[in-house]
C-alpha cells in the first residue's frame, strides 16, 4: 500500500512538472512582454526595460522556470532595496495585474470553488442515483418515462440556460432567494447564509450532472439484474427487495464512485460558466480572467492546481475501488 502511494506520488510529481513546463513554455514563447504589465498608464519604454531586468524577465526561459519552481518551496522576493516585495513559500509568483501574490489569490478563490463542487456533488449524487434507482425499479413504467424526460431535458439544457433561468425567476422575479450581493460567507461562520449563497449554483450544476448519473445508474442496475449471481440470490429464496437493494446496488457502487471522483476533480478545475453567472469569485473565474489578461503566474498556478486535484482524486478513487471491489488489489 505504501509502495503504491509512493509510486503514484512520484508519478504525480513528474506529471505536474511536465504540465507546468508546458504552460510556462507556451506563455514564454508568445509575442508578449510580461514586463509591460509592471507599470501603470504613464509607462515609458525606459521603465519597462528597467523592470524587465529588475524582475528577471530578461533571463533565459529555463532560468525563469527554475526561479518559479524554487519559489514554490523557498518563497520569492522581487526587486531589490526599498522597492522589494516578497511572496512567502509556497509562492506561485506575483500577479502584476492584481498586485498580489498568486498564493493569496488562490487562498481566496479555492474555498469558494470547493464549496460549490462539494455541495453540487452531494446534490447530484442524491438526485441522480435516486432517480436511477427509481427508473430501474419501475422499468418501462411511468416513473422510468418521467426520469427519461428529466434526463433528456437536463442534458440538452446548457448550464448557462438553467443557471440564468434560476437566477431570473427564483431570485429576481419571485424573490425566493435574495441575490447574493454581500458575498461569500464561510460555512463555519454562518451555515444558513452559506447555503443561501450557494443553493442556486449548486442546483444549476447538479441538474447537469444528475442527468448523467441517472442514466448511468439505471443502465448499470438493469445490467447487473441480468447477472447470473442475481439469479443465484433469487434461487436461494432471497426476497426481491434484498436482491435489488443489497446484491444489485452493491455491484453498481464501485463504478459510480469512480465516475463521481473524476467528475468532482474536473469541477475543482473550475466551473467557469456557473461561477460567472452567479458572480462567484472562484477558481474558474480566476483562470478565465488570467488567461484573458496574460497573467502568466496565475494561469500557471491554476493549471498546476487542477492537475494536482485530478491526480489526487485518481489516487483516492483507485484506493476506494480496492476497498469496494475485493477483486482489485493494490500492489
Amino acid at each position: 500500500m505504501l509502495k503504491f502511494i509512493g509510486r503514484r506520488a512520484l508519478f504525480a510529481a513528474m506529471t505536474i512538472l511536465i504540465v507546468s513546463a508546458v504552460v510556462f513554455a507556451i506563455f514564454s514563447f508568445l509575442p508578449f512582454d510580461p514586463a509591460s504589465l509592471t507599470c501603470g498608464q504613464r509607462c515609458t519604454k525606459q521603465i519597462i526595460a528597467a523592470n524587465r531586468i529588475r524582475l528577471g524577465f530578461d533571463q533565459p526561459v529555463y532560468v525563469q522556470y527554475w526561479l518559479f519552481l524554487s519559489g514554490i518551496f523557498a518563497g520569492r522576493t522581487y526587486g531589490a532595496g526599498s522597492a522589494a516585495f516578497s511572496c512567502p513559500a509556497p509562492s506561485f509568483g506575483y500577479s502584476f495585474n492584481e498586485n498580489a501574490c498568486v498564493t493569496d489569490m488562490l487562498r481566496e478563490s479555492l474555498p469558494i470553488t470547493i464549496s460549490l463542487a462539494v455541495g453540487a456533488l452531494i446534490m447530484w449524487l442524491l438526485l441522480g442515483i435516486g432517480l436511477g434507482i427509481v427508473a430501474a425499479k419501475f422499468k418501462n413504467r411511468w416513473p422510468d418515462t418521467g426520469s427519461s424526460v428529466f434526463v433528456l431535458l437536463a442534458t440538452s439544457l446548457p448550464t448557462f440556460v438553467t443557471g440564468l433561468a434560476l437566477l431570473i425567476w427564483v431570485s429576481i422575479k419571485w424573490h425566493f432567494i435574495p441575490l447574493s450581493l454581500n458575498g461569500y460567507t464561510s460555512i463555519f461562520d454562518n451555515p444558513w447564509k452559506f447555503c443561501v449563497y450557494f443553493i442556486l449554483p449548486w442546483i444549476t450544476l447538479a441538474i447537469a450532472y444528475a442527468a448523467i448519473y441517472t442514466r448511468f445508474t439505471r443502465a448499470a442496475l438493469l445490467e447487473t439484474l441480468g447477472e447470473d449471481y442475481i439469479r443465484t440470490a433469487r434461487a436461494k429464496g432471497v426476497g426481491e427487495r434484498v436482491v435489488f437493494f443489497k446484491h444489485t446496488l452493491r455491484a453498481v457502487l464501485a463504478p459510480l464512485i469512480t465516475l463521481a471522483g473524476l467528475d468532482f476533480a474536473g469541477l475543482i478545475g473550475g466551473a467557469i460558466i456557473t461561477e460567472t453567472i452567479f458572480n462567484l469569485p472562484g477558481l474558474g473565474r480566476l483562470t478565465l480572467r488570467s488567461v484573458y489578461e496574460f497573467d502568466l503566474p496565475v494561469v500557471l498556478a491554476t493549471t498546476i492546481l487542477a492537475a494536482v486535484v485530478v491526480i489526487v482524486m485518481n489516487l483516492i478513487v483507485d484506493m476506494l475501488y480496492a476497498v469496494l471491489d475485493p477483486r482489485v488489489r493494490i500492489t
Partner: protein, 344 residues
C-alpha cells in the same frame, strides 16, 4: 421410492416482438427420492425453461405458464404454477435448490463465500446468524473444500472453477432440500474436474436422499449419472426411458441422431455425423412432427403423417416411450442396425 416432483402437461410461452415463443409445450415428468433424472436436448429445446419453471424463476408477466408442477415441500405437495410470489420464495433454496452452468459468474463477486452461503440459510431461518455460519462451514467441508473455516472468509475470485462449483453445491444444500436441479453443472469445467463434480453429486444424492433433476446436453454425463432420461426437442419430450434403453435401444430418430453425433476416438478419420439442418423456430412450429424436416426415417412412416400431425408420446413398454409415426417395431430394427454399424 417416494415421488418428489411431478410435472404434468407444462406449457411455458413467452411473448416477443416476433410472436409467441412456445418454449415448453406439454412436458410431463416425475422425479423420486434417490434418483437422477436427466433432461437432454440441444440449446433452445426447452430444458432450462422447464427447470426455471420448477424454481418459479420466470418473471411474472413475461412468461405464460400452464399445467402443474407438483413439488414435495418435505412431504407436503405444492403446485408451483399456482403459488404466490412469497410462497414460491419460501420454497426456493429450502425444498428445491438449483445449481447453474457457470460457477464463475454465479457467485456474487463482492461478498465473502461464507456470507453468501449463510444468507441462503438466514433467509429461511431468520436471525440465526451463528448457526448459519456454522452450517456454511460444515457444508463447505462436506463438498470437499479444504480448510473450510478459512476459505469461508475468502471471495469467489480466490477459488478455481471446480471449487466454485463445489461452493455452489454447498450453497444449494444449506437447507437440505429434497430436490436439486442441476442445470449443466459441468459444462463450464475441465473434463477432469467434471468427473469429480459428478461423483460429488452422486455421493450427496445418497447422503441427503435427494432427487436430482439434471439438465444437460452432454450424453457422456447422462450415461455416467442418470437413472432415467427425457430427451427434449422443440419444447417437447420426444423420448423417455431408463438410461440403458435410451443408449442401447433408442426409439426416437432424434435420440439416434444425438447418439450418432457423439465424437469417437477410434474413428478419428471420419467426419462427425451431425444431425442435418437446424432446430425449428419455436414461434411458428410446423403442423407436423417438429423433427420431420431433419428426419432420415420419414419414408418409413406408413401413413406419411410426419408432415401433417404431431406424433404422440407412445410405447409398447410403459417405461420407455417415444414420439414417432414410424411403427415402433420397424424403428427398433432400423435403429439397431444403425447402432451396430456405429460400433463396428
Amino acid at each position: 421410492m417416494s415421488e418428489l416432483l411431478r410435472i404434468e402437461d407444462l406449457h411455458v410461452s413467452f411473448k416477443t416482438d416476433d410472436g409467441i415463443v412456445r418454449a415448453v409445450d406439454g412436458v410431463s415428468l416425475t422425479l423420486s427420492a434417490g434418483e437422477t433424472v436427466a433432461i437432454v436436448g440441444e440449446s433452445g429445446s426447452g430444458k432450462t425453461v422447464t427447470s426455471l419453471s420448477v424454481m418459479g424463476l420466470h418473471k411474472k408477466g413475461q412468461a405464460e405458464i400452464s399445467g402443474s408442477i407438483s413439488l414435495s415441500d418435505h412431504g407436503v405437495f405444492k403446485d408451483v404454477v399456482h403459488l404466490s410470489d412469497d410462497e414460491i420464495r419460501d420454497i426456493r433454496g429450502r425444498a428445491v435448490s438449483m445449481i447453474f452452468q457457470d460457477p464463475m459468474s454465479s457467485l456474487h463477486p463482492y461478498y465473502k463465500i461464507g456470507n453468501q452461503l449463510a444468507e441462503g440459510y438466514l433467509v429461511h431461518n431468520p436471525g440465526k446468524k451463528k448457526e448459519a455460519m456454522a452450517r456454511a462451514i460444515e457444508m463447505l467441508d462436506l463438498v470437499g473444500i479444504p480448510e473450510p473455516a478459512k476459505r469461508a472468509k475468502e471471495f469467489p475470485h480466490q477459488f478455481s472453477g471446480g471449487m466454485r462449483q463445489r461452493v455452489m453445491i454447498a450453497m444449494a444444500l444449506m437447507n437440505s432440500p429434497q430436490i436439486l436441479i442441476a442445470d449443466e453443472p459441468t459444462t463450464a469445467l475441465d473434463v477432469t474436474v467434471q468427473a469429480q463434480i459428478l461423483a460429488l453429486l452422486s455421493k450427496l444424492k445418497k447422503e441427503f436422499n435427494m432427487g436430482i433433476l439434471l439438465i444437460t446436453h452432454d450424453l457422456g454425463v447422462v450415461a455416467q449419472v442418470a437413472d432415467r432420461v427425457n430427451v427434449m426437442y422443440a419444447g417437447r419430450i420426444v423420448e423417455e426411458g431408463p438410461v440403458d434403453d435410451i443408449f442401447y435401444s433408442p426409439l426416437a430418430p432424434y435420440t439416434l441422431g444425438l447418439l450418432k453425433s457423439v465424437p469417437r476416438v477410434s474413428k478419428n478419420n471420419e467426419r462427425l455425423k451431425a444431425i442435418p439442418g437446424q432446430p425449428p423456430s419455436l414461434i411458428n412450429l410446423p403442423v407436423g412432427c417438429p423433427f420431420a424436416p431433419r428426419c432420415e426415417f420419414k419414408q418409413h412412416s406408413s401413413e406419411s403423417g410426419c408432415n401433417t400431425t404431431r406424433p404422440e408420446l407412445l410405447g409398447t413398454s410403459p417405461t420407455h416411450r417415444s414420439r414417432c409415426h414410424v411403427p415402433e417395431k420397424l424403428r427398433s430394427e432400423l435403429f439397431a442396425a444403425e447402432l451396430k454399424e456405429l460400433q463396428a
